[in-house]
Symmetry: C2
Subunit: 295 residues, 2 copies
């Protein structure tokens, strides 16, 4: 595990450098927008989604600079979703990764616009020819990300999450919610490498299946952290789900069964990687890390 | 002019039909998101940007179904920007085209998410192969729209607009603000036809120049409506700029000079179309309409 953490950190470093270059500061009066975009992306998350892009791209010998651009684009979408999710009208969170959320640090209007601009930038980055020589690869990346992030994916999942506050969900509904809200972006992170590498449909499906199981494992681990985690380690308010009366995998299954379920899903995820042999070792380690992490 | 209004209306009808198909209603619990997306796009605007796409595509014999998809995508971006712009943290508007704004009709969270989903959908539509057989065209459309809509374009302009509330802008700064906030999306609407039709750089530049001048004319006409327009005809609150102490072309130039300037820009815009001869007549009529409209 220490070796994997080092790998994850080195990868995060490379992604941070790439992100940094996409948002050059300038003196124009609207510079606060760029500042807010930087604040919301360069704050040192674990960069798990970018790691998935880089690791999946590694399976197909994709050029590092291509993979980094796709990784940065997907992270921008993840970060924008957090900025909007934290807004007072949404989850109303004041703390994120131990720091004031974007609308607290700046203001609500700036946070809304910074989120909008990050989402837009992601598609600019993917469609630029610097990302890949083949325009079909660029268009396919845009299409896959847009599908995963839109009304039938992440944003739909966020809506479902809001609606769920007034409904009691059962396991199938929670599974659907989490699949949309977080699973589909995780899936596209893993598939991005296959798209970049023009991999066979079979390889892409294997990665999709890996991501599908891993996404749920990831979410259950997140729910467990909300119950068991220490606020200082996790870096955001914990115990929120229970306080809000929210049904999660943990409230429905109990801590023990939820932990077993997460481990089972992570193992199942890893099984889908067999076709890639030892080339997929870093993805296997990721699956293990996801369910064992403490923040 | 009556003939042009009929053309504009017929075009709007076709765009409305296309938009309608992109947002099929469904019974899932998150259906309110789709409802809000429909509410914010199917409310019968004049569809000036889609008209630009269709008219510019007409110059290069682009397939109607391709042009309609690009037109719908750009309109989605325009509509999302209105939804977010109307939010309490932004312009705090309760009325848009004579109807309650999205966050009044639904709620703030739904309006934020509907805007996010509309923006995302625009890129999904453009990158889908149904929009064009050539993936380079699809990637180029995405790139052009993302650049026009992002931090260096529309969203940057909105940020600048917010910052401007606390600054006194002069004509060059207002020109830059309006160019970013509305001009660049108008420009990409006119260029979309050239991208779809794989036109020469020269043709694309002519359309860009046309749109550049027309965009400013459009904005001055908008400022004039805010001063002179009747609230019922315009469909939104008027007199807001003056009440907010906002500097606009009209407050800086005065009504008469602003009207002259708008007409001059519209004429100048039309001059760029010479290379297309009578094929560009509908764009010429548009330029005339833009400065003469009453809502």
């Amino acid at each position: 595990m220490p070796d994997f953490k080092k790998l994850l950190m080195e990868n995060a470093e490379a992604v941070n450098e790439a992100l940094d270059k996409f948002f050059p500061m300038h003196d124009d009066p609207e510079g606060q927008l760029i500042e807010a975009m930087r604040y919301s992306t360069l704050d040192g998350g674990k960069r798990i989604r970018p790691f998935m892009v880089m690791a999946s791209a590694g399976l197909f010998n994709v050029r590092q600079s291509s993979a980094l651009r796709a990784a940065a684009a997907i992270e921008m979408v993840h970060c924008y979703s957090l900025v909007h999710d934290d807004l007072p009208a949404m989850d109303d969170d004041e703390l994120r990764r131990g720091q004031p959320t974007c609308h607290i640090k700046f203001n609500e209007a700036t946070a809304i616009l910074a989120g909008d601009a990050l989402l837009t930038k992601a598609f600019e980055v993917l469609s630029d020819e610097a990302t890949h020589d083949d325009p079909k690869v660029r268009a396919d990346l845009v299409l896959a990300l847009a599908r995963a992030a839109g009304a039938e994916g992440m944003v739909g999942g966020q809506m479902l999450d809001l609606v769920a506050e007034h409904h009691t969900l059962m396991i199938p509904e929670i599974t659907r919610l989490q699949r949309m809200k977080t699973g589909m972006l995780i899936a596209v992170s893993c598939e991005a490498g296959a798209i970049l590498g023009k991999a066979t449909e079979g390889a892409r499906h294997a990665l999709h299946a890996f991501a599908h199981d891993l996404g749920l494992a990831f979410q259950i681990a997140d729910d467990l952290l909300d119950v068991e985690g220490d606020e200082n380690t996790v870096g955001k308010k914990t115990g929120k789900d229970i306080a809000a009366g929210k049904k999660t995998f943990v409230t429905l299954l109990g801590i023990e069964r939820a932990r077993e379920q997460a481990q089972m899903l992570a193992d199942q995820a890893a099984d889908h990687l067999e076709v890639f042999a030892e080339k997929a070792d870093s993805l296997r380690q990721l699956a293990d890390f996801v369910v064992k992490r403490r923040n």
